[in-house]
Amino acid sequence: MSTTLSVASAKPRHKRVLPGFGLSLGSSLFFISLILLLPMTGLVMQTSNMGWSEYWYVITDERVVASYKVTIWAAVIASVFNGLFGLLLAWVLVRYEFPGKRILDALVDLPFALPTAVAGITLATLYAENGWYGQLLAELGIKVAYTPLGIVVAMSFTSIPFVVRTVQPVLEELAPEEEEAGITLGASDWSVFRRIILPSLWPALVTGVALSFTRSLGEFGAVIFVAGNMPYISEITSLMIFVRLQEFDFPAASAIASVVLIASLILLFAINIWQARYLKRLHGR
């Protein structure tokens, strides 16, 4: 004990080289506490009003559980689709020159800017059986609006920018040499893509897909207009929260919200850690 003390006292006080550590960290923490964490206490207090068994009862209600399944499935499909389409978009935007590229690039952010309700109404208009797409799809015997498929469409629409915008910069930074090395070794384009480029993109792609997934889990405005909201079939968890709110049951609403929130945070945190490991292997730091 005394040795550690003496060492500590012998240690020179080193001022941080770059200015603003206290200011930037302090105000960041303050801001995060005020804007992000403090409101969370509301959630915690609401749920802590209920006992554990009641909490469990609320979050495992049959219909709520069904909504988890619907939501998760739809979000999985939507984010996987976004993974593929987002990768394609990012690839085309980074690798090729063609007229209209800038417009395409700008369009990617559109779903961020459009109010979700507008998106939902518009999608419902398009995909309803008398809509532009609905008519075509009806001929193929596919129904989108008012089915779980509609949920998928709405979710992927609102969250596509996440994938594109996380993959794009990494793809831009990718050094051509690794690719060239692969080609000189005789690999086909496909092998090079699959075995060399894709592994370098994994961290970004997975992050993008995860963000897209968590956003989809929470999506409400866009989904309810196209979902049909049939019990057990196309009710999403956000709707369950909404229902609890309509019933003035704040604790129950908070409880269900907390499930989604915790799941999302765990996912994001796990991915952060996985990504750090993966990147460490890649960059050795």
Binding site: L18, L23, S28, T122
Partner: protein, 285 residues
């Protein structure tokens, strides 16, 4: 003698692959993003231009536009400052909990906007512990513009930081260290060395923040109180018009939002174009 032959060098550069991918992307973008956009305008103009202008000229609509811009005007600078401070602290310093801070920053992506609104309501509403105090002191945060600004700040706060962090990480601290050694104070350092290096990313973050702030629906709807001509933002107003069997007016407002979005996005494209040109000019002389 063969002359002018070109080899494909990078993966996917062969014309067949290239044009297939570009084609596929354009088609999918058209289907998933462009047609919904067009459909908004189609529904806005379905009753003719006169009706369109009329519905935009409605005093409540004008007020909603004004309020929306006002909220964005407050939100953007707040998040700009916060984003820069947060990015500065996590990229320029090592401290325990850095990773956690970066995960916390993503909370708004993981929280459904409706839940976000709810969180604020639970805290600052009359039944919340802060809200009760506010009520006693006759301070109206919720159901007034401050509440709207607060939740909008919440929902949009990751955008600036998320744009800056990767860039600042990649640029490293050396430029700043050099400036400190040369005797620059914190403020000089930031304005003269850091800012010029990050200005484009910063601007992009601002544009995204703005786009999202203007379009936010779910969270705002919870805390707004929907008072016509007072706390109705444009997205809420659209919803209200729509609920009120005024679809055309609703879509006229929606198209206005889409136009705002497009203008900001085109502005962004313009900035990028300028940036590329500046970059080229710097490296070829």
């Amino acid at each position: 003698m063969a002359s002018g032959q070109r080899h494909q060098q990078r993966v996917g550069d062969s014309p067949a692959v290239k044009y297939t991918l570009i084609g596929l992307t354009l088609v999918m973008t058209a289907v998933l993003l462009v047609v919904p956009l067009i459909s908004i305008f189609q529904q806005a103009f379905v009753d003719g231009l006169a009706v369109y202008w009329d519905s935009l000229g409605d005093p409540d609509t004008l007020h909603a536009i004004g309020l929306t811009l006002f909220v964005a005007l407050l939100t953007v600078p707040i998040n700009l400052v916060f984003g820069v401070l947060l990015a500065w602290s996590v990229t320029r310093f090592e401290f325990p909990g850095r990773k956690l801070l970066m995960t916390l920053m993503d909370i708004p992506f993981a929280v459904s906007p409706v839940v976000a609104g709810l969180l604020y309501l639970l805290l600052y509403g009359n039944n919340g512990w802060i809200g009760a105090w506010l009520f006693e002191h006759d301070l109206q945060l919720m159901f007034a513009w401050p509440g709207i600004v607060m939740v909008t700040v919440f929902v949009t706060c990751p955008f600036v930081a998320r744009e800056l962090i990767p860039l600042m990480q990649q640029q490293g601290r050396e430029d700043e260290e050099a400036a400190v050694i040369l005797g620059a104070s914190g403020w000089q350092l930031f304005c003269r060395v850091t800012l010029p290096n990050i200005k484009w990313a910063l601007l992009y973050g601002v544009i995204l923040t703005n786009a999202r702030a203007v379009g936010e629906f779910g969270a705002v709807s919870v805390v707004s109180g929907n008072i016509r001509g007072e706390t109705n933002t444009l997205p809420l107003h659209i919803q209200l018009l729509y609920e009120d069997y005024q679809a055309t007016a609703a879509f006229a407002s929606a198209s206005l939002l889409a136009v705002i979005a497009l203008i900001t996005l085109i502005f962004k494209a313009f900035i990028e174009w300028r940036q590329e040109r500046a970059h080229k000019a710097e490296s070829t002389h």
